[in-house]
Amino acid sequence: MLLGKVSLTPALCTALRISPAFSGIQKQIGAAATQNARLYASSQAAEAVLDKQAVGTTTATKAATAKKAQSVESQSFAVNMFKGQINPSQVFPFPSVMNEEQTQFLQELVPPVSKFFEEVNDPAKNDSLEKVEDSTMESLKEMGAFGLQVPQDLGGVGLTNTQYARLVEIVGQHDLGVGITLGAHQSIGFKGILLVGSPAQKEKYLPKLATASGSDAASIKTLATLSPCGKHYILNGGKIWISNGGLAEIFTVFAKMPMMDEKTGQMKDKITAFIVERSFGGVTHGPPEKKMGIKASNTAEVYFENVPVPIENVLGEVGGGFKVAMAILNNGRFGMAAALSGTMKGVITQAVDHAANRVQFGSKIHTYGAIQEKLARMTMLQYVTESMAYMISGNMDSGSKDYHIEAAISKIFASEAAWEVTDECIQVMGGMGFMKGSGVERVMRDLRIFRIFEGTNDILRLFVALNGFQDAGKHLKSLQKALKNPLGNAGLLAGEITKRAKRTAGLSTGLTLQGSVHPELSHSGNLAVKAIEHFGVTVEDMLLKYGKNILHEQFVLKRVADSAIDLYAMVVVLSRASRSLSQGHASAQHEKILCETWCIEAYDRIMKNVKDLKSSSTTQVFKNMKAISAAVVENGGIVAPHPLGF
């Protein structure tokens, strides 16, 4: 989807909704820098690398103090692995965050929700009607499905992130269209109010929203200006592709406002978040879009024409809309991984059922290696996704604020794993898989959007890599500074020198997961440690080679991100399998095999990426790809003449 580089102002909120894809990102980053507007993620890291104020991690300090060595240690595993360090506090042991009451409550919720989706909701009907059946919608509202995380005293179910994940898993297993309708409403639409709303705003809107009057986020092409009387903002603009756009009564709108920048004294466009009610007047929407999948979910353009918004409806700070947006997105991401792990569970059951019963060439097809490999890969992908989802929700419930890299990783992984698993399921089922009746083709169509919306996976990879580089870069900078005063920083420098000497000599630098990982998994644990070490070195090498320009090296960033994803995945399954072994689960040995197999393959992939990033032939490949792309773009299509000459 090539975008005209025209008026679409920096797609901050491409991240918020289905984004017109980012093929012009480099141009736009340049444009962004000059236009002074803030781009989602990429510009964040760019600015950070340029030593400006970083917004990403909570451990990031303000611009002025960014030059000092990082004083607050990030507890995030991902942040540390970019520095070649291991901080196990958030990953080992596998989080178990629910108390007895919460566990019991959740156990009571699962059966009725499952029953509803098995017996009442009809995904095939929803798909062909291109909307959620009215009766189903009513039942969902009565059931409280629209306010799962709204506090109980405001009329919601008051679930923690982990409890929410478990229920969303059930929805994902049965009907992603409904999942998006629910998710767009509560994970995005009114999450802003939940996270940063004032008590008055929460009391006014949450009870209504908990019983589902529909909501969604819209943004950025929209302009807000303060009215002469000073009591309202006037909103003008619109956005395409808003989920629930045709149904929502309440919107979270992000609009640009010119504001005085205190530092430069210039007018700058800043983003502010607003709670906008359709009843304010001037809010209209277009017809429902016809989509490949999640047809049951309503998607429409929304327009704002001179909509008066009372100043009390500003969400968060005036000009602080970007932070609100980031908070909302980060906070909702784990839900996707949870839902998709449910989806995968469902299709794997279908694939297994088919493989266990279908006879070809005289044997059940599950006895053939080709099928066995497919089923095994599907199982591992589901295991990793599920582990990521509940590790992150557990971290969030324990109060961690430092999980955005992991959340982004989980979204990328889950969406791609689900696509692969469902695709293989259709393959295992053969012709049956292709038929509407078995329902898997619908799941496939529903899944495609997950790699696109909520931040395309391509953008998120850049986000993961650049965020990681940002912290690693700070670390390097602090080392550079220390080098200017070697005597004063003898301890720090001595440590670093020893570490590097050991590395060059091929010795272990003392990094270990022993004590965290179960002894039966120690070999896989060692693979993870080695991978982290190599990864850390590679990250540093790239920074030293490219410096600030790493921002533009997307071929490099993609490979770094892929390695980071594989690394986090390894650690997550090590943690989960270790816990199962320690607790003596009946399935522990099975999980051990899943873990070991995953780690072997992930290690190989990481090592290959590391090697590629050092190799000159790969650099040549990147250059070639750039050239190929330039040629086809210039030609408006394929360049090579037809083999037949015409």
């Binding site: 409550f105 919720l109 009725p112 029953k115 059931m143 799962l148 179910v157």
Partner: protein, 242 residues
Amino acid sequence: MSRVLVGVKRVIDYAVKIRVKPDHSGVVTDGVKHSMNPFCEIAVEEAVKLKEKKFIKEVVAVSCGPTQVTETIRTALAMGCDRGIHVEVSGKDYEAMGPLQISKIFAALAKKEEASLVILGKQAIDDDCNQTGQMTAALLDWPQGTFASEVTIDGEKVKVVREIDGGLETIKISMPAVLTADLRLNTPRYATLPNIMKAKKKKIANMKPADLGVDEPPTRLAGVKVETVDDLVAKLKANGTI
């Protein structure tokens, strides 16, 4: 007309594939999904409906068994029952328990709670005994309306349409009475999440069979196989049965 007692049983979920234990001593229950017996769900629904129509004031859900049965009582509470009673029986006693002991417990409770109606499912899907309702009525010497597919309260009487082998039979019985629910009596409601939350605040009382004056169930004696009919007759004569 104040109170209805509803019995609910925790059974292996109807959709689960039953597996026999390797030692053939029974069926695998560990880690297997359990839920409320479907006919008990219908019984609860009927009781809650009667309350909503204001024929009765309070619905009490009762279950006998180990700690896990409280989950089943909670489901009943989430469907609209007002409070629960958990009669604790565990381990070997629970395995040995059958309709006779259960009906003794229910009879005692019905008297204690001064219930006007006892509504049960017609049978449980694990043992398919179809005895508890009838035995309870007999112990209490109350009229019974079993296999009910329609229940209407008419003053001090209950009109029950029963599904029998030959078709439908309509009877009118006085209260207090015992009813057992058949499949077509109603369609049980789904417990909504807000109702589940409200149910957490409802009380479940705890007691033992002894508290109700009911003995522990006798340990089941092993049977004996005999070779011929003559042997059988001889044995029956010997232990005084005939």
